[in-house]
Symmetry: C2
Subunit: 126 residues, 2 copies
């Protein structure tokens, strides 16, 4: 079985480089809509895990995120995005399922592109 790395809320969302020996420039980047957090590293990881597991509960568990928080993040991104990123269906015996929409896939790609450009910026600056 493939081991899925757990999600640590702080570390992976910080990009950094060394401008002088011992000194490290670090940064974070995120997207807001109307002053509210729309997309950040944690939310992108959650969306990817939902895509992988087909369930918000399993996605949350895999990244050690509380189910309630995961649910609130999905609610927020669906509300703030141009179109819903996650489609929920209340299933039968197996419980609820969730799947990523095309808009969700686009949102992940956009944020990752932004983050890659930011990493490039940190690599070039100093």
């Amino acid at each position: 079985m493939t081991k899925i790395p757990s999600f640590r809320p702080q570390k992976p969302s910080r990009l950094s480089r060394h401008p002088e020996p011992g000194y490290v420039v670090k940064g974070r980047i995120w997207v807001e809509k109307d002053g509210e957090l729309y997309m950040g590293w944690g939310r992108v990881i959650l969306l990817e895990r939902i895509d992988k597991f087909g369930s918000i509960a399993a996605a949350a568990r895999s990244m050690k995120l509380g189910y309630r928080n995961a649910w609130l993040w999905v609610e927020a991104v669906n509300r703030l995005a141009p179109a819903p990123l996650v489609e929920k269906s209340t299933g039968g015996a197996g419980g609820g399922h969730a799947r990523l929409t095309d808009e969700g896939r686009k949102a992940i790609k956009q944020y990752k592109g932004l983050r890659a450009r930011f990493a490039e910026f940190l690599k070039e600056t100093g």
Copy 2:
């Protein structure tokens, strides 16, 4: 008298731009030394105010920062910088004075340069 704008811990340290209508990319940037925060927007403001007022207490008061925190920030930047950024002298009747060193002026300039390049990056990305 010139009114000195108060320091709000969150807002001014976040740079942002609009990539799509309604969506705003925001970010923060800071410098660490050996995993410890060395320089960020709040510390730069404190250093500038120390330069202006010649006193850590007055600088802290002007930006609504607790004196104890201001003192800890000065202690940290002095310890983490290649050479002390702030020189303290325990004065006579008027209490202690503090002044910015040339290294302190250099540190402010470096961080502001980094921040300006980051603002440029946010303006160009999207």
